[in-house]
Symmetry: C2
């Protein structure tokens, strides 16, 4: 449900992994649905959320986080018995809470967060390989059905993903640090520039702010939904800035060099680990 970059890419990837699967695309903009159909990401178009899930054995919410409450309420009465419902949202506490409160007992909900995407918007940028070698975080709870969890793990693996498991609480806290805060910072870094500065920016600046090129509405939803964790992350970032300001005040040349070198070293280590995960050989 939702045929943007993620929904469209799931359609294309699923088409390769499981050619016989019948894929229904739901959305409220007919234009996006038609584009999704043209690129062969979906088999059928549906603009009525309730109708779109009828008879499906897997429902994937690919709309912005802020739309989940409304969408779950709409589809809940029309879900087939034994259906598995999942999502691709960047926050997990609220969707888990809502799904467990709203969906019928005959539906099995597993929250998913595939760490894949792009700053580009729209179904026309969909790629069948968007998920290949990327990490998908699942956030099962005590109420999670074990068989459904295994099926969802297999589903994302069939699109090429690796699986990690976290509680919804740990997910939202860690992703605030490593994904939502970086986005906020990139936007703040652009916001504080005057035009003369932007004229002088180089490749480094453009790379550092690439993630800020995403859809404002989508990220607004994520920020609001994860506001407590995001504020805590901003607080910790500010403390780092205080530390550097003090080093600059006191001309602490050695401490500053160590601080910079440790950061460079940790990034290098993280990058090597990522590359090893993707190519274990």
């Amino acid at each position: 449900m939702g045929v943007g970059l993620l929904g469209g890419s799931i359609g294309l990837a699923l088409r390769n992994a499981s050619p016989k699967t019948h894929i229904v695309g739901y959305g409220h903009r007919l234009e996006s649905l038609k584009k999704a159909s043209e690129i062969n990401a979906i088999d059928a178009i549906e603009t009525d959320a309730k109708k779109s899930v009828a008879g499906s054995d897997l429902v994937i919410l690919c709309t912005p986080v802020g739309t989940f409450a409304d969408l779950l309420a709409q589809i809940a009465p029309n879900l087939a018995r034994g259906v598995i419902v999942t999502d691709v949202g960047s926050t997990k506490r609220s969707i888990v809470r809502m799904a467990e409160a709203t969906l019928p007992a005959t539906a099995k909900f597993i929250a998913s967060h595939p760490l894949a995407g792009s700053e580009k918007r729209g179904v026309e940028f969909s790629r069948a390989d968007l998920f290949a070698d990327q990490l998908c975080i699942l956030t099962p709870t005590k109420k999670t059905d074990a068989a459904a969890l295994k099926r969802i793990e297999s589903f994302w693996r069939s699109l090429g993903m690796r699986i990690a498991s976290l509680t919804p609480e740990d997910h939202d806290r860690l992703l605030a640090d490593v994904s939502h805060l970086p986005h906020l910072l990139a936007a703040a870094l652009i916001a504080m520039q005057d035009d003369k500065g932007l004229d002088l920016c180089g490749k480094g600046f453009l790379d550092a702010t690439r993630i800020a090129g995403g859809d404002g509405g989508l990220w607004r939803d994520i920020f609001i939904d994860n506001a407590d964790n995001l504020k805590a992350a901003v607080g910790r970032l500010k403390k780092q800035l205080d530390t550097v300001e003090k080093m600059l005040d006191h001309k602490s040349v050695e401490a500053l060099r160590v601080w910079l070198d440790v950061a460079a070293h940790r990034r290098e280590k993280t990058l090597k680990k990522k590359l090893k995960e993707i190519n274990p050989g």
Copy 2:
């Protein structure tokens, strides 16, 4: 003088642009000098700064900003009449002040800042095309010799660069915003993470922090030399963070969306302008 990534790349690029030029490499590490010679970035090796400039008609300082004072004092007595001295440092006020105070009247100093580089360290990563289509900022003053300025402009243009001109003060202020602060922020973003968060990071995080992969000593020098502007930039960034925190507190969904969209739009506009500068056609 200084055969790291920048010095080595100037050697390689100059070799293409002006095959007959005799290039002397100065450094204190013989190993780096030998590597520079092996990749054909320099013709001769010299570990004595004073000797290395004897008879040269162009001297380019490619060592970290923190070494400039010492280096200028060493070479000043041995410069040929009419020599042009320039540098590739990321800060300009201090080098201009030092060069005008230290160099003899028979030497012409022009401060240069080619906006090119890499997070990789060492002469082995030198590339002849490192400067192609990139911007070189010159910061002439009232004391600058007009003929020497023209020669330096031609020199950087011969390596493929575009030229911009700023006062040393404007340069350091604008570069603090658009280059030094982004580096500081990327390092702070890594420093505030715990290891569990780093394990979950995706391509977005790695791109956003790529610039923090540079040499700690080199950036320490830049930060200390430009501490006043950098602290002002950190202050303005913190104000942006305060603004976002308030939007999160008040759940100002519309203001937050606008703030994010404006940032995305300004980045997009900047990127398009850069691409147009590189390919005016």
